[in-house]
């Protein structure tokens, strides 16, 4: 089992390395000079040359790549062309703010999704099930910003005006000091992520409920409640863990639109701003950050899959 996990780990490392090359090549393709972009049109040739030297722009391409890659490991992401400050300082608070958003969305959508999916499976074919599957089918189809705008229209502007539609924390204070501002962004993410968890939970639970050992437990006279909690649920959790991981990985990219919509001061909003300003250093740093989260979460999903699968765990396969 350990060998299998190590193999997955090394594959992930190689993938991240290739992604970093792809992301870095983006700078090469960009027209114009980053030093010029930072200093502006009025800069003297001497200052330009000095900044180029400072940013290592005169070094050969491979050396610049290695320098950049080395910087990523020690938290040195380069200099932002738009603000002139270091990218790391720009992103510090924003990473924490985005993590709060993701953690809250995950903490709500996973248990609720599992509960609704189980309920749906138990009431298969009845009204409650039809409602749950119908709603999750519709929600799964809607783009995230459509769900977000619908919530804003409902709760903060046109219909009711009970919740703030934008996040605004005075400088120095953190976003989580204003919980009411977090409700709509978190709710949007929950509604985007949950349908997939519900659908997967329902499908696996139905499969498990039809299996021989659940029938056996029922025939033995085990109370229905215990059949579900002790016999059925543990077997359905493993496949659902994979879907949960995929959804968490999706959150890493999905926060971009939701943060932009609610003006939430996280990495997603920073990414959109950087793309608008063509601030390559920031885009690169954020792309690598999001890719890293994506790859790590997928790796965790694989590991959960290996650990919960008895055949893989004991080395029966391979």
């Amino acid at each position: 089992m350990l060998g299998l996990i190590l193999r997955r780990l090394s594959i992930s490392a190689v993938i991240l390395l290739i992604v970093s090359m792809l992301v870095f090549v983006a700078t090469l393709l960009l027209p114009g000079d980053p030093a010029q972009a930072i200093l502006g049109q009025q800069a003297t040739p001497e200052r330009l040359e000095a900044l180029r030297e400072q940013m290592n722009l005169n070094d050969p391409f491979a050396q610049r790549y290695l320098h950049w890659l080395g910087g990523l490991f020690v938290g040195d992401f380069g200099v932002s062309a738009a603000s002139g400050g270091s990218v790391a300082a720009l992103l510090g608070d924003r990473i924490a703010a985005s993590l709060v958003l993701m953690a809250l969305a995950a903490a709500i959508s996973i248990p609720v999704g599992i509960l609704v999916g189980t309920y749906s499976a138990l009431r298969r074919g009845r009204a409650g099930d039809h409602a749950a599957t119908g709603i999750s089918l519709v929600l799964a189809a809607l783009p995230d910003f459509v769900i977000g705008i619908a919530l804003v229209t409902l709760f903060s502007t046109t219909v009711f005006t009970v919740l703030p539609s934008v996040t605004m924390a005075p400088p120095g204070e953190q976003v989580w000091d204003y919980p009411s501002q977090l409700i709509l962004p978190v709710l949007t993410l929950v509604l985007v992520v949950m349908p997939y968890i519900i659908r997967m939970m329902r499908t696996t639970m139905i499969e498990v409920l039809d299996s021989g050992y659940v029938e056996m437990a029922r025939l033995k006279g085990v109370p229905e409640r215990q059949v579900i909690v002790r016999h059925a649920l543990p077997h359905a959790i493993a496949p659902v863990a994979q879907v949960v991981a995929i959804q968490l990985a999706w959150l890493a990219g999905g926060i971009v639109v939701v943060e932009f919509l609610f003006r939430y001061p996280g990495v997603g909003q920073a990414l959109v701003d950087a793309v608008t300003n063509r601030d390559v250093q920031v885009v690169q740093a954020l792309a690598m950050l999001i890719a890293a989260v994506y790859v790590v979460v997928n790796l965790l999903a694989d590991i959960v899959g290996i650990v919960t699968n008895p055949k893989l765990r004991t080395g029966g396969i391979r």
């Binding site: 594959i11 993938i15 991240l16 983006a26 619908a150 959109v272």
Partner: protein, 290 residues
């Protein structure tokens, strides 16, 4: 002709995939929903001038006024005109991106499954790399380098669809290529591309149709999202995603500029998802009948 007909009747061949799709209630609802939006998007630009009196970029008055049917937008343009004129680009771009992704993905997936060996390895590892970046982040990276232009959006959405489609194609095709009729074609020395096109492709249409529907829904969502972020279609183009971006600051005074395009995108994606769901069910029954 008649003898053949009676012969097929006798074996009771299951109805074709299309007919089985249409028979489902979900497919009917989905077709009606998407049909309405497609009709608005396609006929809208033609009816524009005499229906509202303004083109989609013409100024009709002062900003955020209740003039006309739905009022004016942030720059004083007629909202109904912009709505009617703003759907076609989204649909065309989504269709182009989906088509590009389907062609690339199907070709890569079939090649990987049929050739196996080193080529399979290279294609599938390449897929893993492309899948390591979320689609939207990949698109944003491309837009940073190449600028927010229509062809960049189509290209990058198409390319990021391809690995996902290739995976599905590969697993569907691997089941087909071990069949005897493929070996028979090989013995007749039929060229490889012909085997893939004439023998493999027709046998994996079920999963590919599901993938087509799914990717179309995602393309619409992704392209509309990019425009919403202000990084897809650029002003003064009339575009549903862009309209939402431009008018959301005035949601309290002039909600129509946001509500109309949001509703259209919602109906469109829900409709195409319903159709996809029906296709998935219909092609699943084919598998059972085999």
């Amino acid at each position: 002709m008649t003898t053949i007909d009676t012969a097929t009747e006798a074996i009771a061949v299951p109805p074709g995939l299309l007919r089985r799709i249409i028979r489902q209630r979900q497919a009917k609802i989905g077709l009606v929903l998407t049909g309405i939006v497609v009709l608005v998007a396609v006929v809208g630009p033609l009816l524009l001038p005499w229906l509202t009196g303004y083109t989609s970029t013409e100024f009709a008055g002062r900003p955020f006024q209740p003039d006309g049917v739905f009022g004016t937008d942030n720059l004083g343009r007629d909202i109904l005109s912009r709505f009617l004129g703003g759907g076609l680009t989204l649909l065309v771009f989504a269709a182009l991106a989906t088509a590009l992704g389907m062609v690339l993905g199907t070709a890569a997936g079939m090649l990987a499954a049929y050739q196996g060996g080193a080529l399979d390895g290279i294609i599938m590892r390449g897929n893993d790399v492309l899948l390591a970046l979320p689609q939207l982040v990949f698109a944003l990276l491309a837009i940073t380098v190449l600028g927010p232009q229509g062809w960049v959006v189509v290209l990058v959405i198409g390319i990021t669809h391809a690995p996902r489609i290739a995976r599905v194609t590969r697993s569907a095709a691997s089941a087909v290529i071990t069949e005897d009729f493929i070996r028979a074609s090989e013995m007749y020395a039929v060229p490889r591309w012909k085997i893939l096109l004439k023998d493999v492709l027709p046998n994996i249409t079920g999963p590919l149709m599901v993938e087509l529907g799914l990717r179309m829904t995602y393309s619409i969502a992704a392209i509309a999202s990019l425009s919403f972020l202000g990084l897809g279609m650029q002003p003064p183009t009339a575009d549903w995603g862009l309209m939402i971006n431009e008018n959301r600051i005035a949601l309290t005074v002039q909600p129509w500029g946001v509500i109309l395009p949001v509703l259209a995108i919602a109906i469109l994606t829900v409709g195409s998802n319903l159709i996809t769901d029906a296709v998935a069910r219909a092609s699943a029954t084919v598998e059972e009948n085999k």
